[in-house]
């Protein structure tokens, strides 16, 4: 579960400016197959910006992204999805007015095409949703239930189901346990371990040391938009990582 595994995603020298503000400066990041990388840092350290660059939502001002050894320029989240790179957002990025199934396949719905017209294949959406939820052992009343009717934990499960519906190779999770009841945190961490065991590379952004030390293999800290420190998990301690977040080595 270390660098001997195949390298999936590598970011080199990522820099991002917003006007005169430097959000990221020369940041590097690597994720291997079946590995979980924890990214920590204080508010404003650049974690979310980095993840948005990786998912194609922001274009980096400088730097390059390599996926399975090849350089790629991401113009939109669609490009990163096509590479097998998925994001689970902190605000869950689900449309509450749509049913579970349509959320899972949003933007990639199976369609029946008549000429240039694309009609939704509702039956297929339903079948694929049931099969996928079954695979991840996620239980909901029905795939037709609207997301706004679900609990926080169920929504997080739908969000993770969404990210893994299309054979993702790397899944990026932004504060995956932040909105959950304590009871539900363990279940989501189980789900992350399950993803790792299937060879998926996982990046977890979290404030919770418990999360990091339960699922991650490696941890890196951002401080004021730069790489501050990085270590294998077994070679560091909670106190040291908390120090990194505050900018102390």
């Amino acid at each position: 579960m270390t660098s001997t595994n195949k390298l999936l995603l590598e970011a080199k020298g990522i820099t991002k400016y917003f006007g005169t503000i430097t959000a990221l400066e020369n940041v590097n990041l690597k994720v291997h197959e079946g590995e979980c990388l924890g990214v920590v840092g204080d508010n404003g350290a650049g974690k979310s910006t980095l993840m948005k660059v990786l998912s194609g939502l922001y274009k980096p001002s400088a730097g390059a992204l390599f996926f399975e050894g090849k350089e790629h320029v991401l113009d939109s989240p669609k490009d990163s999805q096509n590479l097998g790179l998925e994001m689970v957002y902190q605000d869950l990025a689900l449309a509450g007015n749509l049913p579970i199934g349509e959320n899972i396949f949003l933007g990639r719905e199976p369609t029946k095409n008549i000429g240039f017209l694309k009609f939704l294949d509702f039956k297929k959406i339903q079948e694929m949703t049931s099969a996928h939820l079954e695979k991840l052992k996620i239980n909901v009343k029905s795939a037709d239930q609207k997301v706004e009717e679900l609990s926080g934990g169920q929504r997080q499960a739908v969000a993770i189901a969404r990210s893994t519906a299309f054979n993702a190779k790397v899944v990026i999770m932004d504060e995956p346990t932040a909105a959950l009841a304590i009871k539900e945190v363990g279940k989501v961490l189980d789900l992350i371990n399950k993803l790792k065991s299937t060879g998926v590379g996982v990046i977890v952004i979290s404030h919770r040391m418990d999360d990091i030390f339960t699922v991650c293999d490696r941890v890196m800290a951002l401080f004021q938009g730069t790489n501050f420190a990085e270590s294998q998990l077994d070679k560091t301690s909670r106190d040291e990582v908390i120090g990194w977040i505050m900018g102390k080595k």
């Binding site: 998912s55 939502l57 939109s76 989240p77 669609k78 999805q81 994001m87 957002y89 605000d91 869950l92 990025a93 689900l94 449309a95 509450g96 007015n97 749509l98 349509e102 959320n103 949003l106 933007g107 990639r108 719905e109 369609t111 017209l117 694309k118 009609f119 939704l120 052992k137 996620i138 239980n139 909901v140 009343k141 706004e148 009717e149 609990s151 934990g153 169920q154 009871k183 539900e184 279940k187 189980d190 399950k194």
Partner: protein, 349 residues
């Protein structure tokens, strides 16, 4: 993993197990879907009881449909925009400008099929301008862009026509708004015809129902209204969809102009004045949410019908138009309040 399943099973039981047994809760989804139709039926019954001889007569019913024909096009366009959590204040002006262009082209002696296509194209272009302004000029809210174009389009319509009415179109041009489908072959009398505009409403509403509920683009329109950042994160090109929506809204206003040209046989400066507010009112009465993502084509149709029937019925009873304004306003507030109550019962807190 197993206890995870158990946890949610238990949640399901606690929150829903009891509720599921009551008929009341089972009926909520149907009420949510068809409640507005119920209101429509009640209104028709009340009007029928108040005006038993006239209200449901062939002549009056077709009259109602002819009266709502062009408003129904504007309402449908505005509805799509409202689903994306936007607003289009310029539909009345788009219709007026399209109508004026139609009138000028007709007066210039263009063949009828050009005259018929011109307002559709003009409406589409106006909508496109709205869409491009909202996305590329990054207007903070569609309200501002379309408030601007509300003035711009009407002003342009007055500039090109000199602010005077232009009358007199050929029968082909007037067909959609004024045409009659003869039903004497069904054994009906000559006066019992079907207005072409009624058929047009049915066809357009059906096409847009299919578009919004069964096409992928239609689903994305709802997704954008539900959570725009979710739509963006899903790889949906939100700006492109918004431009399509505003363009289609303009296109429907163009159809409205064509119908109005047929009905009035004239392009006139006051056409569609304040009709954007009627269109918004119909959507709101029909259950569309201003916050986006909610509402149905059937609901909008019911909203348009309710406003049309109310106006028609009150006219039949010789009620002053001032009272009509008060009543329509009250119905908007009442319809939305019923919606608020329904949501209190219907969704999980």
């Amino acid at each position: 993993m197993k206890s995870l399943v158990g946890l949610w099973e238990k949640n399901k039981m606690d929150d829903r197990g009891k509720k599921q047994d009551t008929l009341y809760v089972k009926l909520i989804p149907y009420f949510e879907k068809y409640g507005i139709l119920l209101l429509l039926v009640i209104m028709i019954l009340v009007m029928h009881i108040l005006q038993p001889d006239v209200f449901l007569s062939w002549r009056n019913v077709t009259n109602v449909f002819k009266q709502i024909s062009w408003q129904s096009m504007l309402a449908l366009g505005v509805f799509m925009v409202i689903v994306t959590a936007g607003i289009d204040l310029s539909v009345g002006s788009i219709m007026m400008l399209s109508l004026m262009i139609l009138a000028i082209v007709a007066k210039a002696g263009a063949p009828w099929f050009i005259v018929v296509l011109v307002p559709l194209f003009a409406g589409f272009l106006c909508g496109l301008i709205n869409g491009l302004g909202i996305t590329f000029l990054r207007m903070p809210h569609p309200f501002i862009m379309t408030l601007g174009t509300l003035y711009i389009f009407r002003g342009t319509g007055n500039l090109i026509s000199g602010g005077t009415p232009i009358s007199g179109f050929t029968d082909e041009v007037r067909y959609l708004g004024h045409g009659r489908i003869d039903l004497t072959w069904l054994g009906l009398e000559k006066s019992q015809y079907l207005p072409v505009s009624l058929v047009l409403i049915a066809v357009v509403y059906f096409v847009f129902w299919v578009f919004l509920n069964h096409s992928r683009t239609g689903k994305w329109i709802y997704a954008i209204g539900g959570n725009p950042s979710a739509a963006r994160a899903s790889g949906i090109n939100v700006n492109k969809i918004l431009i399509i929506v505003y363009s289609l809204c303009g296109f429907l206003s163009g159809i409205g102009a064509l119908i109005l040209a047929g009905r009035t046989d004239s392009g006139y400066p006051n056409a569609g004045l304040q009709s954007e507010l009627d269109a918004i009112a119909a959507c709101i009465i029909g259950g569309a949410s201003f916050f986006g993502g909610r509402g149905t084509v059937l609901g909008v149709f019911a909203g348009v019908m309710i406003m049309g029937i109310l106006r028609n019925g009150l006219n039949l009873m010789d009620v002053s138009s001032f009272w009509q304004q008060v009543l329509i306003g009250s119905i908007i507030v009442l319809a939305v309040y019923v919606d608020v109550l329904r949501r209190d019962f219907g969704t999980r807190k």
